[in-house]
């Protein structure tokens, strides 16, 4: 009997396959680069990265290619984690190999991880001057990350003879509105089509609003993925266009909604069910309330005149609240509590089952309702009060899971905050950096407001791990650190 309850060879096989497939995505930037006439030294990193990645992938896959076996839950967890970690690392190869960027290993990995986890924090300065191949690669990484490449893999892997049921479970612990269609592969395909359509619609809209084709496609990638990477240092602010900003708001909002609702819309051709979903309503109310507060405060402090206040407020509330991370203003210089308010908004993040980050709106909603329940029970000890979301009663156990999740979230946050401060970072920057990465938001405050280029390797490594924690919703990664995971 294997000493640990993991089928290592099966895991190795899956990772090998995924890595090999991932290597193909390093070739599309080459095509883009050729189209736009990029110099060869911006194409060779991708060829080099491709070669290395595909070789390692095959090296992992071929020795064990016959080890097909049913994945157990633990194998699933390990695969999901290794997947993000390994792809995050290999994704940094092009950055590392492109000498003008002059990124060492830790920095290359940070940028790659930020792309793949759709965080959107960048340490590259001078984006406007970079060749199109590099820029495209960054945007593409976010787009791929957005769907949780796992879901993509779940649609393809069954064809390769690898079961995917457990991987879906591993990706979203705690809250699960149930599978959309009985077969997991069909679910994945359906989600992917919706995602693709949204991307195309967004790209067309951006293009019609005045972005160049390259920018339109690139930004649509990072909008629908709720990533936040831009091809310009000033992010969306570069375009200085209310229309573009509002298009972004619309698509960010849509992408932050549970894709199950989108799926239902495509089946029933109606939109009434959106408003019936309590999480959706909460999501909209939060956005609305924060916009009003932000707009009001900006106006009252005479930071801007009313229409600009509204435009900036709406844009940043949605961008930061959904954890996209686009900016159009130096919001970190906004008066009073606004920057921190926005940062806090990212804790709620997007809805469960969307490409957004953060703890997810439904969890925040649940915790809030649980708090209400306890207050009520203090007043009425005999009362039987049940927590409901919409029409569904949430079982006690599920609420316990969410509390556990919340507690773990805070512990991880605290530990990382202290680590960064130990490395010398000031409190504001440390706190905002951890929050921004843990929530997969992107921009922070203090010295990480514009970009992360001034941080050292240690801080960047800690933050890379934070991004991973965030993307994997804490437990998926944390469970690997418990002894029980490695024991029967």
């Amino acid at each position: 009997m294997s000493p640990i309850p993991i089928q290592l060879r099966v895991v190795q096989r899956v990772v090998g396959v995924l890595l090999t497939l991932f290597s193909i995505t390093m070739l599309t930037p080459v095509l883009i680069g050729l189209v736009y006439g990029d110099p060869f030294n911006s194409l060779s990193p991708f060829l080099g990265a491709f070669t290395a990645t595909v070789l390692v992938g095959l090296l992992l896959y071929l020795p064990v290619k016959n080890h097909e076996a049913e994945l157990r839950i633990r194998d699933g967890f390990l695969i999901v984690v290794l997947f993000w970690a390994v792809l995050g690392i290999f994704g940094g190869l092009p950055f590392y190999l492109y000498s003008p960027l002059d990124l060492n290993v830790a920095r290359a990995i940070f940028e790659s991880m930020s792309g793949l986890t759709t965080t959107g924090a960048t340490l590259i300065v001078g984006l406007d001057l970079l060749p199109k191949s590099i820029l495209f690669y960054r945007q593409q990484m976010q787009w791929l990350g957005g769907m949780g490449i796992i879901v993509l893999a779940v649609a393809i892997l069954p064809l390769l003879g690898i079961g995917g049921q457990q991987l879906y479970k591993a990706e979203t612990p705690g809250i699960n509105k149930g599978k959309l269609t009985p077969r997991i592969a069909n679910t994945a395909k359906a989600l992917w089509y919706i995602y693709l359509c949204l991307t195309i619609a967004c790209a067309l809209a951006y293009w019609a609003a005045g972005m160049s084709l390259f920018d339109a496609v690139g930004h649509s990638f990072s909008t629908v993925a709720i990533g936040g990477f831009s091809t310009h240092d000033n992010s969306i602010g570069y375009f200085d266009s209310t229309l573009i900003e509002m298009i972004a708001v619309v698509f960010m909002l849509i992408s932050g909604v549970n894709f199950a609702l989108h799926f239902a819309a495509t089946r029933s051709f109606s939109v009434s069910h959106y408003w019936r979903d309590e999480e959706f309503r909460t999501y909209i109310y939060i956005a609305l309330t924060l916009t009003i507060v932000t707009c009001g405060y900006l106006y009252l402090t005479q930071t801007s005149e009313f229409s600009k206040s509204f435009r900036d407020a709406l844009f940043h509330v949605v961008s930061i609240g959904t954890t996209t991370g686009f900016t159009s203003e130096e919001y970190f210089n906004w008066p009073g509590f606004l920057p921190v308010l926005l940062l806090f908004a990212s804790f709620a993040g997007g809805c469960a089952g969307s490409t957004g980050g953060g703890m997810k709106v439904v969890r925040v909603l649940l915790l809030f309702k649980q708090g209400q329940r306890e207050l009520l029970r203090m007043l009425h000890p005999y009362a039987t009060v049940v927590v409901k979301v919409g029409k569904t009663t949430i079982p006690r156990h599920m609420i316990d899971v969410v509390w556990g999740f919340f507690a773990s979230y805070l512990v991880v946050l605290a530990v990382m905050l202290l680590l960064l401060m130990a490395a010398g970072l000031d409190q504001e920057s440390a706190f905002s950096a951890v929050v921004a990465c843990l929530n997969n938001l992107g921009p922070g405050l203090g010295i990480v407001a514009a970009n992360y280029s001034s941080l050292g390797e240690f801080e960047l490594s800690v933050l890379s791990v934070a991004m991973l924690f965030g993307r994997l919703e804490i437990f998926t990664l944390l469970v690997l650190f418990t002894p029980a995971f490695w024991r029967y």
Binding site: M1, P5, R72, Y488
Partner: protein
Amino acid sequence: MKIIVLGAGQVGQSVARSLAAEQNDLVVVDTNVDALKHLEEVEELQTVVGYASHPEVLKEAGAEDADMIIAATDSDETNIVAMQIAYSLYRTPSKIARIRSAEYAREKDLFKNDNIPIDTIISPEQLITDHVERIIEHPGAIQVVDFADSKVRLVGVKVQEGAPMEGWPLSHLSKLLGNIDTRLVAIYRGAKGRGDEKSSNGSTATRQEKNSLRGENKEPAEKPIIPEGKTVIHADDVIFFMGKRRDTTKVMAQFHHDEVSCKRIMIAGGGNIGLLLARKLEERYEVKLVEMNLERSQYLSSMLKHTQVHTADAADLDLMKKEYIEAMDVYCALTNDDEANILSAMLARKKGAGKVMSLINRPAYVDLIEDEMIDVAISPQQITIGALLTLTRQGDVVAVHSLRRGEAEALEGVAKGDADTSQLVGRCISDIKLPESASIGVVVRGDKVMIAHHDLIIESDDHLILLITDKSQINGVEKLFQVGFGFV
């Protein structure tokens, strides 16, 4: 001896039958007429109908001049009261009671003549737990029994194919063991015994016997062989050997090659026995306990420190899969339900568990399943009866254990007297007039454990440990231990 047995349940009946076969004067008491009817008609025993603890009933059963009363009713309290009355009114010399509840059995000072006058408590649950624990300590063993304050161990083990001793004559064993001395006291060879090796006393099944066994009705599948130096060991033989306790593992390794220490145990059934066993084992092994009832599970969880308690049906396939049944070294089915035990044990075996044990109350089932899918059948009756019978042996017999479902017995007796009065003292082993099916395995003198070789001379106060494969010859053995008139 005149013996009264209170309670005609499974234990009561079996004990009565056993004792009657040895020419004792038996009276059985129970409230259930039907239970007594069988004993009265078939076994021709005297019976009394009534409450075991009522003085009149005891009187009618002959308590006034009984030598021994055995209380084996279903109720601990009835047993205790009956004993009290037997003492107070009738001053019965020997009082033995079965007390199931650990709550009573735990109090060491409780059972004295000033308090509750019971001479010997038999706690079946404790006995079973000890029994199972011993088997777990020796994973290849089918039965493990201790003598002489646990200095001597008698082990029954099934010879594995490819084991070091397979195919060799017994004389080869001493070469493999070097200094370690051991005595093989019996070999049981199945009808499917390979080849037709000559063996002295027993016989391999002839073709005729094989045919009849394949078809219908029943004779014992194995005949015991008294081993000699030239007896060849075959795979699937069940051999019994005796020796110093600490040498057991090394000897076993010659017959069973994966004497790998067991690490992981799964117990099905969180009743008294399950709980006791889990408590005993959880310090040294990784234990999983499966219990169907949620409230009971919670109680178990609170009473155990390192055991994983699972709430599920014992035969739940999904549970077995999720808890890595194939990594379990031992699976113990200990629920109250024979059928559930047998089925879940067979399922566990099928799904890859190592050694599979099952508690089986009904004797008929024991015969049916052992040797097939289940390694060890634990019969509470056998174990309890063995303990009871120890106390009813005449002469200086210290301990008795039933083996092979009651066909054979191992006993420990003390040789008293001197060369004139005793048939044992002063004689060589080879000179002692043992019945044909008996053999002396080990002699314990003080703290010294000596294997009984032909030339060993018995001294007074020596403890002799013997095995008898034909119980009908037991009187012959008992007589040997009796001391003649010359000794005061």
